[in-house]
């Protein structure tokens, strides 16, 4: 009896393996590593929308797998490697903190292609991609300065990394074109995602006199607090108007779908190569949600600014950019700061009355 059982198990295993092998050979397996839950309504949610768009586009030709709630740092290395070992040929790692782990796994699996979001380290089989969110921030700065009665903006930061700092600077540069003496209060949540803390930060900013809230954290908590208090706010990553129908001015939405589709297509066609994509309003990687809860003239101004940035007539970091110390920042990109300067930004522009934490 025992022998029969063992034999039966072996047959089943073999059958299972062949089935598995067949499906793996036919389909391109694409893996995704997410920072938050796919239901965060922000950052991870947008990445998963793009994954769904990929599935819709290629249907049976591919098979996608995603791992959510993968914390940044060394722990993520195991998750990335797990996807590589499971036969995924193209792996998207969708947070800044996955940079080193992705690089490590990429060296171990030279035949697997990696796509890392918002980082700056690349390899033969590792691309990077990110959005020029600062373009949207500049528009938000202009709207905020127009709409703020107090002349004080409230800004909830996540971590003081260049992407967030360039966002704060772009906001202020935009705002200063309207109101040169505009003030910004900055609170760091030291977290990408903690709705309670984000709500507390929004309350603190409003209590201290700010009347327009903007955030670089991922939940709609701040929007909801602004709405409750009858104040204004900007969404983050995705459309958040549901949480503040009378509060949301606009939202910078991350639109990864066109890029993901293009990269999966390249992989299918065998034309994938390591690249550095930094898309903005023009390539529609950054999309602005409808301009709402503002007078027509502000809306027109916002739309005109958006058009000017899209057509490369206007650069948010147009030279001269003056730092907090009053000195002009070296202009490496002709008439505007070079991409590298924005990607590595670690200074505040003049007019921000605060210090970058830990500097």
């Amino acid at each position: 009896m025992r022998k029969i059982l063992i034999a039966a198990t072996a047959v089943m295993l073999a059958a299972g393996a062949s089935l598995f092998g067949a499906s793996a050979a036919d389909k391109l397996k694409v893996g995704f590593i997410y920072l938050g839950p796919i239901g965060d309504l922000g950052w991870t949610y947008q990445h998963d929308l793009a994954r769904q768009a990929v599935v819709k586009e290629f249907g049976d030709k591919i098979e996608t797998t995603f791992l959510e709630n993968v914390s940044e740092g060394p722990d993520s290395e195991r998750s990335i490697e797990q996807l590589a070992r499971a036969g995924n040929k193209l792996i998207f790692t969708t947070s800044f903190g996955y940079m080193e782990p992705t690089l490590k796994v990429a060296k171990k699996y030279p035949n697997v292609h990696f796509e890392h979001a918002t980082g700056y380290k690349r390899d033969k089989n590792m691309s990077t991609y990110s959005g020029r969110f600062y373009e949207g921030r500049y528009i938000q700065g202009i709207i905020a300065a127009k709409m703020s009665k107090a002349g004080v903006l409230g800004y909830i930061g996540s971590f003081p990394i260049p992407e967030v700092i360039s966002g704060i600077n772009a906001t202020m540069l935009g705002a200063q074109t309207i109101n040169p003496s505009i003030k910004v209060k900055i609170i760091w949540a030291n977290s990408w995602f903690d709705p309670g803390k984000e709500a507390d930060a929004a309350k603190a900013l409003l209590d201290q006199g700010a009347d327009v809230i903007m955030q670089h954290t991922d939940s709609p908590a701040a929007m909801q607090i602004a709405s409750e208090r009858g104040k204004l706010a900007f969404g983050q990553d995705s459309e958040m108007i549901k949480f503040g129908p009378k509060a949301q001015l606009t939202s910078i939405m991350d639109n990864w779908a066109p890029y993901y589709i293009a990269r999966v297509k390249a992989e299918l066609d065998g034309t994938w190569k390591s690249e550095d994509e930094w898309g903005g309003l023009k390539s529609k990687m950054v999309v602005m949600a409808p301009y709402t809860n503002m007078p027509d003239d502000v809306k027109k101004l916002a739309e005109a600014t958006e058009a000017a940035i899209t057509e490369a007539k206007l650069f948010p970091f147009k030279c001269p950019v003056v730092g907090q110390d009053g000195k002009e920042v070296e202009c490496k990109g002709g008439d505007h700061l070079a991409d590298g300067q924005v990607l590595g930004m670690n200074f505040y522009v003049k007019g921000i009355d605060d210090k970058i934490p830990g500097k």
Partner: protein, 305 residues
């Protein structure tokens, strides 16, 4: 509204879930059971609480759903640790992981929905008193309930016979058993009470704090509640102080940042935890060598028949 008043209001709101969850865990631990699954029970309470309120439109039903969910989850813990005498630490950690997964599953259908948050008390005249009016008479029901809960638990533990028996079970289960007390049954009720409180504390987040559900929204508050129980050296009165202190440090660090005080925010974010460590050191200095923990805490009890 003055800044001070605004800060106090925020502190009360931020402290309430911690206080409710910690009060429940305090009773559980006083009975000698260490349930590290508070975070898991809270997040499931949040998912079920939001679901209940969203489906029925009633905050009270939402709160009840949270309580029931937390209790059910704690029954799994009771079954494992009391019935099967499994290690409490391992089971508690497993409960947290289970809870986080389960809440995502339960909450998947509610993500992106929103509800009207719990109303705040308004008594004409009283609530309008400058400075103290909104603080004393303008909170949501959870805030008042949390304080009543602590007082109730204090009365129960120190002024009733059953409370004395519960503490005896937590201090020396062998003696309590020899005296004829049903150790396991008492512990089961204590665990269920802890679960109910954790579920309610979790439900507070989507029902009153941020009126939407998002997976992972408890963001570690269950662990803070566990720390608070130790911080309070298992005394309900100190728990109130601890919870409000913790809430105050959390909110004040945000205000300090907004005011541009120039202290690194990373340090400020660590402040509440640093405060816990300092208080723990101070407590142990006051009575060196004497542990304030229930003597049988975390130990498995198998009655000999």
């Amino acid at each position: 509204m003055g800044l001070l008043e605004a800060i106090i209001l925020s502190v009360l709101a931020a402290s309430t879930p911690l206080l409710i969850a910690a009060t429940g865990e305090l009773v559980t631990e006083r009975a000698g059971v260490l349930n590290l699954g508070v975070e898991g029970m809270m997040i499931v309470g949040a998912a079920c609480g939001f679901g209940g309120a969203w489906l029925t439109g009633s905050i009270i039903i939402g709160a009840l759903c949270g309580i029931v969910a937390g209790t059910l989850l704690s029954l799994i813990f009771a079954m494992m640790t009391l019935g099967l005498a499994v290690n409490q630490v391992a089971t508690g950690l497993a409960l947290t992981i289970l809870g986080i997964g389960l809440s995502g599953l339960i909450g998947a259908g509610f993500v992106g929905e929103k509800i009207t948050p719990a109303p705040h008390l308004y008594i004409p005249g009283l609530t309008d008193i400058p400075l103290v009016g909104r603080i004393l008479f303008g909170e949501d029901a959870f805030v008042y309930f949390s304080l009543a809960l602590v007082i109730g638990v204090w009365l129960f533990l120190y002024r009733t016979r059953t409370g004395l028996v519960l503490r005896a079970v937590g201090d020396n289960h062998v003696s309590a058993h020899a005296l004829g007390y049903p150790v396991l049954r008492i512990r089961m009720f204590a665990v269920m009470f802890g679960g109910a409180c954790a579920g309610l504390a979790g439900a507070y987040l989507p029902l009153a704090y941020t009126p939407f559900f998002i997976p992972g929204m408890t963001a570690g508050r269950g662990w803070i509640a566990l720390a608070l129980v130790v911080f309070s050296s298992w005394r309900p009165a100190r728990l109130v102080v601890g919870a409000y202190l913790f809430g105050a440090v959390t909110i004040l660090q945000l205000h300090a940042q907004g005011a541009g005080l120039g202290i690194p925010s990373q340090f400020m974010s660590a402040l509440p935890y640093l405060a816990t460590v300092i208080v723990l050191v101070l407590i142990s200095r006051v009575r060196p060598g004497v542990s304030t923990a229930p003597a049988a805490l975390g130990t498995v009890f198998v009655p000999d028949r």
